[in-house]
């Protein structure tokens, strides 16, 4: 069944059917989550109303990491099974993941102003997200530089996997660096001691964000498949005008002339 679903033609069909449902579900949960976030969740006793930024910030951070994870899986699909849909999934995921990571950084900065009195603090989590954003930028840049799609997919897949090996190391080293330079005086965002009245809206927002992200991803994958078809058709057209060498005549010749 999976091989059937993963065939690009089939994928186009079922994803067309699925995307509106996903988008609808995302809109509904998003509306519910926003309602809970605005009207049900109480203001934080320390941070006041600004804590509501969290309901965008945390889902965006999750999605930034989530899409990197999906790219790692696609990269394995590209390298091990050479599956064309894995290439497409990988390529479509990179800009979406980068966008969510950027949202996380921007909301983090906006949140930082009232909390820390400055837009940017070299907090360990924000810094790790910044590095993740830089890695996304490198991946997108590499996609754009290598022209031939199959080669680009393999090249980017290797970079994605190297990045995946590196990300835990980066996270670890940034934590080390952060505790080295700043004693733990910074209020930790979120954290395990979050009150249920804030936790439930947050979970709803995370679900809504994930649905939105998947819907966007499917849509971007369709666009990418169609873009490749256009490319193939253009090449076919060029081949029709110049059929190239397709006839082979192999025969043992006599003593060469």
């Amino acid at each position: 069944m999976w091989t059937r679903l993963a065939n690009p033609g089939h994928f186009l069909r079922w994803s067309v059917a699925l995307t509106p449902w996903l988008a609808g579900a995302a809109a509904l949960t998003g509306a519910l989550g926003l309602y809970l976030a605005w009207f049900v969740a109480p203001p934080d006793y320390q941070q006041g109303e600004t804590v509501r930024i969290m309901f965008i910030h945390v889902p965006a951070a999750w999605l930034g990491v989530f899409f990197y994870g999906s790219m790692v899986l696609s990269a394995i699909g590209t390298l091990v099974w050479r599956h064309p849909l894995a290439d497409v999934a990988q390529r479509a995921a990179a800009p979406i993941g980068a966008a969510f990571t950027l949202i996380c950084l921007v909301t983090g900065a906006l949140w930082g102003k009232p909390m820390w009195g400055t837009y940017w603090v070299w907090d360990a989590r924000l810094t790790s997200m910044l590095v993740l954003f830089l890695i996304y930028c490198g991946i997108i840049a590499l996609w754009r530089t290598v022209e031939e799609p199959n080669r680009a997919a393999r090249t980017v897949a290797i970079l994605t996997l190297v990045g995946a090996v590196n990300l835990p190391i980066i996270k670890f080293s940034v934590n080390w660096w952060s505790t080295l330079h700043q004693p733990a005086s910074i209020l930790r965002m979120g954290g395990p001691t979050i009150d249920p009245t804030m936790l439930y809206p947050l979970i709803v927002m995370i679900v809504a964000g994930t649905l939105t992200g998947i819907a966007l991803h499917l849509y971007a994958m369709r666009t990418e498949i169609l873009r490749r078809r256009v490319r193939t058709l253009t090449i076919r057209e060029a081949e029709r005008l110049d059929p190239g060498a397709s006839v082979m005549v192999a025969y043992p010749a006599g003593p060469s002339a």
């Binding site: 390298l79 590095v131 080669r151 290797i158 970079l159 190297v162 090996v165 980066i170 080293s173 940034v174």
Partner: protein, 222 residues
């Protein structure tokens, strides 16, 4: 296999010696960055000696990038890489040998020259020795991480800039632990050995991951 490794290292060292190569250039670049910092910060020797290890490390990271884009590209262009893939030795050995030779001509001179450049930023004896030692242990990690980028961009014309964009984020851990080890030697709350051990660990991980990934990238070049 060892014969192939030795032949490759010898060839690349000989080439670097004859052509001048990137080793001397990256040393000059290293010196230039170290020399630029006081112009930006002012000639306050106390400040400079406090951030001296950081300056040297940052300069080393940037200097590593010099010449990295030609590491595999030069061999790709003239057909040597094709010759190397025809070798009975696996491509990983070829990559390992080339990266080792590259480190010997760029990373090692940087580490050896750093005490001299440390004088420019008023480092005292122990700090100089500590910084040189961290560079000696840490530059292999930079070279191996850079080699992945070099292999990925080997067939891209003018791949130098994109190479920097690809590999610099991956060099952050090495930079962090290199500088914190050097700072720890200047006095601080943590012992010198802890970050230094982690730094050597990073070099080993980079050697394994970098060799495998670079060989994979070259193998799937087309």
């Amino acid at each position: 296999m060892i014969r192939v490794f030795a032949a490759l290292v010898a060839r690349d060292l000989r080439l670097a010696g004859r052509v001048g190569g990137s080793g001397a250039l990256s040393l000059v670049f290293f010196l230039m960055i170290v020399a630029l910092v006081p112009f930006a910060l002012g000639p306050d020797l106390n400040l400079l000696s406090r951030i001296g290890p950081a300056i040297l490390w940052l300069a080393a990271v940037l200097a590593t990038l010099i010449g990295l884009d030609r590491l595999f590209q030069a061999d790709d262009e003239d057909g040597s890489l094709e010759l190397m893939t025809a070798s009975p030795a696996p491509l990983e050995i070829v990559v390992l040998a080339k990266v080792c030779a590259h480190w010997l001509t760029t990373g090692l001179p940087l580490a050896l020259a750093s005490p001299l450049f440390g004088l420019l930023v008023a480092l005292d004896g122990p700090a100089t020795a500590a910084t040189a030692l961290t560079l000696l242990v840490g530059t292999p990690a930079l070279t191996f991480v850079g080699a992945v980028g070099a292999a990925l961009t080997a067939s891209i014309r003018r791949g130098g800039l994109i190479l920097a964009v690809l590999v610099l984020p991956l060099m952050i851990p090495t930079l962090i632990f290199g500088v914190s080890a050097a700072q720890a030697a200047l006095g601080g709350t943590i012992p010198f050995a802890t970050p230094l051990t982690i730094l050597s660990g990073l070099s080993l991980i980079a050697a394994v991951v970098g060799t495998l990934a670079a060989a994979a990238a070259l193998r799937w070049g087309e």
